[in-house]
Symmetry: C2
Subunit: 520 residues, 2 copies
């Protein structure tokens, strides 16, 4: 796409067509500027087929908050809408609606509360609450979901990959197989979710990270084609980057050629006073080759150089490699912990596509609309009780137990006095009869999770740095029960409704023709 | 991201960091402007876990050809590179290299041959051949793969979904769960691959398609919250869009409320001289509900209105719905073929993420470099024979049998006289001893597949319209054996090397230290 086309496809028309047909209907009925609220939440954690996550890392909010103030209807966008015709050949959008979009159709009326980016978040909890004129809040649905669903999905995957890496550095190498320009959002989300560096140069610049990388097979191939060998390629690279020399050793034969040549070059570097950085393995049995490489490097006097692994990695592959090294390294006289302490991981397409589950089911649901100055709760009834969102204007609190562990996220009608609530009656969000009580004395802290991030179209809070976001994630992860963090078969974190909200939901289910669920 | 950040992350820095470390090495050795060739190809068809594709649809080329002429180093980009430091604190990139990037670092020297977009393509066949100065051809690796891998993956998925839909219209509804701005490339690829329309407004404008959509649940919810019912919502929508009235009938209860209310509104429309367009089902058992909806609509005198299905659809889900309708519709007095002839499908996140396999393993490999004016073949040896690409400057032909069916893609050293070749000796690309012969008399046509698309950084061919691309795809699909097109367990299409290329590859394997494969 040309730059001009990018402005079109990444501007305010980054939305679904039906948002405009609905917006015009609201306009025609005089409802377009009626204040409304929409909740954004996801219904289930990513399920990677063989394993399901127990938490997500919230991401994408800052990108959305950058986009909203710049999004506006250009004449060209309005002309495109005005040119749309129905089956009968008449325009679908009338001139007065187009005029309204021209003059009032920005996001200046939109305000937003959200759980801050980088935080641990859970299914069925409102992560973002949008309030504003109905027509524009409706049009915002698609871009909001587009920004938040994908980044939250990738930040979650990144948190899993880095958990499997046990603190060893993880780099995003995914740009070449990632989803087009979406890869940039993926790189950002991966960094928020826990990855240490990315190979993506442009996006690293944008988010204030340092891009990383070494060399590829093609460099060695070029030397071979020109009649030189792998050793000459390594020497040339070491001459140019003597203090940053990571050599890719699998272009010819890892153990027969790559490692021995790397050792020769490392010895030469060492004689010239430089510390060799490491080797990279990009094919074959990475656990076995790591051990063999470590063994050869140790014998040559390089017991501490880094070993970078890449090729098809994700959280399970890294976990398997770690386990195999622990089992097998001692047989070769290599200390497993020491070897693991030298590993670094390059994770590619499986990170940026959330391999195993490339979809987060985040939705954006109308929960309230103003009528005669009062908020009226709105609810969709569904054949599937799990799909019914909690109605009305709400708040969200995270309850921490006496050990400081997050024990539940509670959704309630706005205005609860959390100071005097005792006990907390926590109702299951889907099975209304299922509940438990928590005495205030069992809690160390009740934290409101939603904070104001956008007021009348303008960002309220200071933009967080990448370090801030990573810090929030790390803090939240340490305050979770380890069972919830587990990669496989995690404990289910409790998400609950207050009794008042449970009752409101049941009342609405009845009034909209649904059969209320039996309460136990 | 702000506009300024998009220019950075979607410009020439949309590449991996190691491309620059390698480019500087070539610069330092005086190799940076040496003509080199790289092949782009994918190694295996998408494998959706339960089923693997037998072909791909080539896509993304036009987006890449738009990007290349506009990509250039801005001062800001060069400053970022100049600011990169190594472990010892010294700059990684020297001033003379940065100066070279400033003056020569565009893609003006790059030429490209490619299999045209929209065509059926196969594993291990060069789809794109890049020729140009080594340093810039190297830097191009990442953006080229980013543009082509994802779009080819999605066009392939779209072709499968539309095959399952048996000619019934398919719409892309994926923007809200797609991968950020990558969703726009996904929408484009989906349209190239066979989808009829998209809900994505901006991208529809860019590619010259008509965006489609009706209304969502939120519209009905708003009416309910304001004390009106579903019927009032439907009436308001029908008043505004009398000739394009597709009603979403599952907001309250599909069979008890949605369909009966839709029928009332359709009767009112009909009395006013309008033809009702249809209903949309977005939850529940879509096959069962289609039959019930058809039955109720038929009794009410609307036997032909469209039934739009959406929610979690992909090729298998659509196939299953079709089969279930064929089995069950007659029991309810509904003609299955007639019902299927009224269906339309809205396919969302599963389309734009290639659900089941979100990665295409396209690679970009150095195959030749000039030395003293001659092309010297380059090859990577790998532990895995399947990963060794065919070396050298090559051409690709598609052979058609006497029935006009594509029977094999053949890769050969450039310069083969296809007129006089008889018989064609076709060698397996991985198992060098496996071969077959095809007499020229068995063939109706030999078609060269690679055409020049970029010459010295500028697009050579006219930009194809979306209709052109869709036509190419359709033509190619009809010229394939139906067994290759099969969704599950397809025949493997033959991709072969000429004898001369097989011999060259074996020679190089030996000379680079590899053990040549035994020939039978």
């Amino acid at each position: 796409m040309r730059h001009a086309d990018l402005s079109t496809s990444q501007g305010i028309l980054l939305t679904d067509f039906y948002q405009f047909t609905m917006a015009q209907l609201y306009f025609r009925m005089g409802l377009h500027e009626r204040p409304a609220q929409f909740d954004h939440f996801f219904r289930s954690y990513p399920d990677y087929g063989t394993h399901q996550a127990g938490l997500c890392i919230n991401a994408g909010l800052d990108s959305l908050l950058d986009w909203i103030p710049e999004a506006h209807f250009r004449e060209k966008d309005l002309e495109f809408l005005a040119a749309q015709r129905g089956r009968a050949g008449t325009p679908l959008f009338a001139a007065d609606f187009i005029d309204w979009l021209r003059t009032e159709g920005g996001f200046d009326g939109i305000s937003m509360r959200a759980i801050p980016e980088g935080r641990v978040v859970h299914a069925n909890v409102p992560l973002t609450v949008v309030e504003g004129p109905l027509a524009m809040a409706q049009i915002l649905e698609t871009p909001l979901l587009n920004f938040l669903n994908y980044q939250t999905l990738i930040a979650t995957k990144a948190a899993r990959v880095t958990a499997a890496a046990r603190g060893r550095p993880v780099m995003d190498f995914g740009l070449r197989r990632g989803p087009g320009f979406g890869s940039n959002a993926g790189t950002r989300a991966a960094l928020v979710g826990g990855v240490d560096f990315s190979s993506n140069v442009g996006m690293s610049q944008v988010v204030g990270s340092t891009p990383k990388g070494t060399h590829g097979h093609s460099m060695v191939q070029m030397f071979l084609a020109l009649g030189e060998g792998e050793l000459a390629a390594f020497r040339a690279y070491a001459d140019l980057y003597p203090d940053d020399c990571v050599l890719l050793v699998d272009s010819v034969d890892t153990l027969e050629s790559g490692i021995p040549n790397a050792i020769k070059v490392f010895e030469e570097l060492q004689r010239r006073g430089h510390e060799p950085a490491g080797v990279r393995l990009d094919s074959g049995d990475l656990a076995y080759l790591s051990i063999q490489a470590a063994s050869m490097l140790k014998r040559a006097g390089f017991p501490d150089t880094a070993i970078v692994l890449s090729s098809g990695l994700d959280e399970l592959a890294i976990w398997q490699i770690m386990t195999q090294i622990e089992d097998e390294a001692p047989r070769y006289g290599i200390d497993a912990d020491h070897l693991i302490g030298r590993l670094m991981f390059g994770v590619g397409g499986r990170l940026l596509t959330s391999y195993g589950d490339p979809l987060l089911d985040g939705v954006y649901k109308a929960v309230a609309v103003q009528h005669e100055g009062e908020w009226v709760p709105a609810m969709k009834r569904s054949e599937n009780a799990a799909k019914v969102p909690a109605p009305g204007v709400k708040d969200v609190w995270r309850l921490y137990d006496q050990r400081g562990r997050a024990t539940a996220d509670v959704i309630g009608v706005s205005g609860v006095d959390t100071e005097t609530t005792d006990p907390w009656q926590l109702h299951h969000p889907i099975q209304p009869g299922k509940r438990r009580e928590l005495a205030a004395s069992e809690l160390s802290h009740v934290e409101p999770l939603l904070t104001e991030v956008l007021r009348h179209g303008q960002r309220v809070a200071e933009q967080a740095t990448l370090a801030d976001l990573q810090h929030r994630r790390q803090e939240d992860l340490t305050r979770l029960d380890p069972g919830v963090r587990r990669l496989i078969n995690p404990h289910i974190y409790h998400v609950s409704l207050t009794r008042q909200l449970r009752d409101l939901k049941q009342d609405l289910l009845t009034s909209t023709g649904g059969t209320p669920q039996p309460t136990l």
